[in-house]
C-alpha cells in the first residue's frame, strides 16, 4: 500500500513544517481579537462526539444527540514557504476541555490572555498548561482607560512558576500581538536549551 508514504525527510522540501500555538484565556479576554490581528482568521467547525465527558450537556431525554458543535478560530502565519504557524483560539467553555487535549498535542506553546478586571478567568487555562507541561506566556490585554498593573504584580497574583513571561499588550495591535508570539517562541527555546544542558 503506497498510500502511507512516511518518508518525512525525503518529502520535507515540499511539505511545510507547521507549528501550533494555542491562544487561551477566559471569555472576552481577546482571543479572537489577537488571532485576527496577527493572522488571517477563519472559523473552524468541529463536531465533537459526546463521550460522557464530565461537564458535557446532559443527554437525558435526548439520547440520540451524541455530537455537539464547537466553532473555533484559527489563523495561519506563513513564515516562509516551508514554515507555517497555526494559531488556535481555544474554546472558552469548560465543557470543551476534551478539545484542548487534541489542540495541545504537539503544540509549540500557548498564550494565556489575561484581563486584569477578571484575572481569575484565566486560572483554568494556566492550570491546564502547567499540568500538561505546555510552555506558555501570560499576555495581559490592556483595555483602554484601565488601570495598568506591573507584569511582576500580575505574575505574583497568578502564582506563576519562575521564568514564565508576563507581557502587557493590546490584542488589537498586530505588532504587539506578534511580539507576544516572539516572547513565547523565545521562551520555548530558552526552556529547551536549559533542559538540554541539564
Amino acid at each position: 500500500m503506497d498510500s502511507v508514504r512516511s518518508d518525512h525527510n525525503g518529502a520535507s522540501s515540499r511539505i511545510p513544517v507547521a507549528l501550533k500555538i494555542l491562544i487561551a484565556g477566559g471569555f472576552g479576554a481577546g482571543k479572537t481579537t489577537m488571532v485576527g490581528s496577527v493572522s488571517e482568521i477563519r472559523p473552524l467547525q468541529t463536531e465533537e462526539i459526546l463521550t460522557g465527558v464530565e461537564g458535557a450537556d446532559s443527554v437525558d431525554g435526548v439520547e440520540g444527540k451524541t455530537t455537539t458543535t464547537v466553532t473555533m478560530d484559527f489563523g495561519r502565519i506563513t513564515i516562509t514557504d516551508d514554515l507555517q504557524l497555526y494559531l488556535f483560539g481555544t474554546p472558552g467553555q469548560d465543557r470543551f476541555w476534551f478539545l484542548w487535549d487534541e489542540l495541545s498535542e504537539g503544540a509549540l506553546g500557548a498564550v494565556v490572555l489575561a484581563d486584569t478586571r477578571r484575572l481569575a478567568d484565566c486560572f483554568p487555562s494556566i492550570d491546564y498548561f502547567e499540568q500538561r507541561g505546555t510552555p506558555f506566556v501570560v499576555a495581559v490585554n490592556c483595555f483602554e482607560s484601565e488601570q495598568r498593573f506591573a507584569p511582576e504584580a500580575v505574575g505574583r497574583a497568578l502564582d506563576l512558576d519562575e521564568g514564565v513571561p508576563v507581557v502587557l499588550f493590546d490584542a488589537r495591535e498586530p505588532q504587539a500581538a506578534r511580539n507576544v508570539l516572539i516572547e513565547l517562541v523565545e521562551y520555548v527555546a530558552r526552556r529547551q536549551l536549559a533542559s538540554a544542558s541539564r
Binding site: H8, V17, V70, T71, L85, L103, G106
Partner: protein, 129 residues
C-alpha cells in the same frame, strides 16, 4: 451577566454554528476515519495521477478535498476552506487514503522537543513580518 455563559437551550445553534445539517450524514454516520486520526496540522497531498476509479464511490466532498489538495494543504485548512467540520473531513480523508488518492504527512514536530533552529527561524520570521 451576559459575559457569563448563556444557558439558553440550543444557544450553539447560532450563525457561527454553521448549517443545521447533521454533519456525519455525509460520512454515513461514521465518526472515526479508517487508519487512525489525522493531526490538525498534518498535510494532505493528492496522489500524482490518482484518479477516482469507477469502483470507488465518492461523494462531492471527496472530490472537493482531492481538488483542494493538489498542493500540500493542512487538514485544518481543508476543513475551514470547504466549510466542513474537522471530524467529517477526517473520515473523508480516511476514505481517500484507503483509495490511494491522497498521501498524508503527519507533522514531524508532533513530539517535543522542537528544533531550536526552527524556533529561531520562527522568531526571525515574525520579526520580519
Amino acid at each position: 451577566m451576559p459575559a457569563d455563559l448563556p444557558r439558553a437551550a440550543h444557544d450553539w445553534l447560532d450563525n457561527d454554528a454553521g448549517p443545521v445539517v447533521r454533519p456525519y450524514a455525509m460520512t454515513q454516520g461514521r465518526v472515526a476515519p479508517e487508519g487512525g486520526e489525522f493531526d490538525l496540522v498534518a498535510f494532505v497531498v493528492a496522489t500524482a495521477g490518482g484518479r477516482p476509479g469507477e469502483d470507488t464511490p465518492l461523494q462531492p466532498e471527496h472530490h472537493a478535498i482531492v481538488a483542494a489538495a493538489w498542493e500540500p494543504i493542512s487538514v485544518v485548512e481543508l476543513a475551514s476552506g470547504l466549510d466542513l467540520s474537522i471530524g467529517v473531513v477526517r473520515v473523508l480523508l480516511g476514505d481517500l487514503r484507503s483509495a490511494g488518492l491522497i498521501s498524508l504527512y503527519e507533522p514531524p514536530a508532533a513530539t517535543q522537543p522542537h528544533d531550536v533552529d526552527v524556533l529561531k527561524a520562527v522568531v526571525n520570521g515574525l520579526r520580519a513580518l
